[in-house]
């Protein structure tokens, strides 16, 4: 198949349809609105269900309803909209129904702005709603990877009856890149046995997130935790670059992970033995792989488009056994190799000449 030039949000929309999406409910918010607009044009052509909801709250609860019916359904939004969806996401997680969500992140907090950001790491990875659960979170660094990862979202969502979120900063939604769009996936016509499809020739199905009684709710939570452990075991994804002989490691995700590749190449050209670790699943985080790498390098530089959200995980996972420095840009500013390389040199200086570098700022 030949490559075509696609805009990020539209590529994500078409990729979701190729992956088997049957219904979309959403609400306009920059910088993801083109995804909704694309669905409004394209889904009627394919005789699929598109509806612009009254709010993100309405949208996520429509997703919840369709998910209860065993329908392959998704929504998309951007950071403040995701905040509004948290109630519904928690109900979806507790009810164990499959749903896919795209978050094209913008600068915050508050109304913030519409520039790219990775400020939703906490929101999506740590706490996409009240209670004890994590959504599966995929973080592509290019449009081709976004389109490819979209192909597994419904499979993961239905396999685990869980939320699968694909997150990218605003630039991923707005950029244009050549990519190869995969063919349409074929799904079986019948609905899952647990779905609400009408109690015909079977006892009624009931889907709820209400478990009165401490023991019953604890039993649900233990079951959810078991499921999350299975996901931790089987669904970790990550990319490494030039780690074989690396003395130093850059850790970055999404678009920043891609920018960091340029920084690694430039540093290598200058004789610095540095490699890249890029988690593709932010939850489950590739913890074992990062922990192992932290034993073979002398220092780690974490680069993010926020104030250091993934940084906390890197510190936890590596037990800070080597110095960890951080470069973070916020407010829609994108960290470039010009930000990363000086920080890398400072890290190296700190490690190689600990007494001679009083100006070094550790993370």
């Amino acid at each position: 198949m030949t490559k075509q030039l696609w805009k990020g949000n539209e590529a994500l929309a078409e990729a979701a349809l190729r992956a088997g999406a049957e219904a979309y409910f959403g609400y306009p918010i920059t910088p993801q609105t083109e995804l909704l607009e694309y669905m409004s044009r394209r889904m009627p052509e394919l005789h699929l269900v598109f509806l612009q909801a009254e709010s993100e709250i309405g949208a996520i609860n429509m997703v919840y309803g369709a998910a209860c019916a065993g329908v392959r359904v998704l929504s998309s939004s951007s950071s403040p909209g995701i905040s509004l969806m948290q109630e519904g996401l928690s109900y979806i997680a507790a009810s164990e129904v499959p749903a896919v969500l795209v978050d094209i992140m913008r600068g915050g907090p508050g109304l913030g702005n519409i520039q790219p950001s990775q400020g939703d790491y906490f929101q999506m990875v740590k706490s996409s709603g009240h209670g004890d659960y994590h959504a599966i979170v995929l973080a592509p660094s290019s449009l081709q990877e976004a389109v490819d990862l979209m192909q597994i979202t419904f499979e993961l969502a239905f396999k685990y009856r869980h939320i699968v979120a694909l997150i990218g900063d605003g630039s991923l939604g707005q950029m244009m890149e050549p990519l190869e769009m995969p063919p349409f996936k074929i799904w079986p016509a019948e609905r899952p046995a647990w779905a609400l499809t009408g109690a015909k020739n079977r006892p009624p199905n009931r889907i709820s997130s209400l478990y009165l009684g401490a023991e019953r709710l604890e039993a649900l939570n233990l079951r959810l935790q078991q499921k999350l452990n299975l996901i931790r075991q089987d669904e970790v994804r990550y990319e490494t670059m030039m780690i074989g002989d690396a003395d130093y490691l850059i850790v970055a995700f999404g678009t920043v992970g891609r920018i960091a590749k340029s920084a690694v190449r430039q540093a290598r050209a200058a004789g610095i033995r540095v490699g890249l670790f890029r988690p593709i699943t932010l939850w489950p985080y590739p913890e074992q792989q990062l922990a192992a790498l932290s034993k073979t390098v002398k220092g780690i530089l974490v680069v993010e488009m926020n104030a250091g959200q993934m940084l906390e995980d890197v510190q936890r996972i590596t037990h800070e056994r080597v110095p960890i420095h951080f470069v973070g840009r916020m407010g829609g500013t994108i960290p470039l190799p010009d930000d990363i390389l000086p920080a890398l040199r400072t890290l190296i200086e700190t490690v190689e000449h600990p007494q001679a570098s009083p100006s070094a700022v550790p993370a």
């Binding site: 219904a23 269900v49 997703v63 369709a66 329908v71």
Partner: protein, 269 residues
């Protein structure tokens, strides 16, 4: 069909072996279980009316019920059809997601006054604006029942509740919301009525209204909503019989009964 001829009993049952005829039984759409409702609460009557209507329409196997947060939070266990439970106030959005993706199903929401008229105001408004093919049963007992009798948007002026201990003061707390009349103004609403359960005659009228609210959906005319004036003797702190009088004497003057919207197609029989 007039109100008096609406069958509330099973009349078509075959004779049993000993020659006696079955004249009354639980609707198939009702689950054989005990409810947790308080003595004198009218949720049980409403459940039964819904189940009878669903049986008469022959749609039990196509029903998806969306239950609220409130005293009816467990209602999916009391019916013999597929059901789920929405977040507080979100039932119309959830029901929209179900109905839009499975238009051959018959989808209804069951919502209390706090659920639909307070926290869920936007969801019901939007569902009506879109003319969703849904049926909405709106149970108005003037208080938040499950949390212990706090003031609701529908609490009449002057009424004492646990969060309006000096009586609802419209200067401070606003006036009771007449949601059903408001929704009836919207083109997407095919049927809107307020009924009561304080007498047998009114219970029969309530059943007829529920039937029309389902007819509106099944005929694809739009959204059908029935507000049912209902009791909460526990939180009203009166006995069940006085609670029926409370509906008649306190609630009905504030909330007049009636049909505020009937689609032409629903008037044909």
């Amino acid at each position: 069909m007039t109100i008096d001829t609406i069958p509330t009993q099973t009349t078509s049952a075959p004779p049993t072996l000993d020659g006696m005829q079955l004249v009354y039984q639980a609707p198939e759409a009702l689950a054989e279980t005990q409810t947790h409702y308080c003595p004198g609460c009218t949720h049980g009557i409403i459940h039964r009316l819904i189940a009878e209507v669903i049986d008469e329409l022959g749609v039990r196997e196509r029903i998806i019920g969306v239950m609220p947060v409130g005293c009816a939070v467990f209602a999916y266990d009391y019916f013999n059809f597929d059901g789920t439970e929405a977040a507080h106030g979100r039932a119309p959005a959830m029901a929209t997601g179900i109905k839009r993706t499975m238009p051959d199903k018959v989808v209804f929401t069951y919502q209390g006054d706090g659920d639909i008229a307070s926290i869920g105001g936007n969801e019901i408004l939007a569902a009506c604006a879109r003319g969703e093919k849904l049926t909405v049963i709106f149970v108005n007992n003037a208080v938040f029942g499950m949390t212990g009798g706090q003031m609701a948007p529908t609490t009449p002026a002057g009424m004492v509740t646990t969060s309006s201990p000096y009586g609802r003061n419209v200067e401070l707390q606003g006036s009771p919301i007449h949601l059903t009349e408001m929704l009836a103004m919207m083109p997407g609403v095919a049927y809107a009525a307020r009924r009561s359960l304080h007498s047998v005659a009114e219970i029969r009228r309530t059943k007829k209204a529920i039937r029309l609210a389902f007819d509106a959906q099944i005929k694809g005319l739009g959204l059908g909503i029935v507000e049912v004036l209902s009791t909460c003797p526990t939180n009203w702190r009166i006995d069940p019989s006085e609670a029926m009088d409370f509906i008649r004497d306190i609630m009905m003057p504030e909330y007049p009964l009636g049909e505020f919207k009937i689609h032409e197609e629903l008037k044909k029989h």
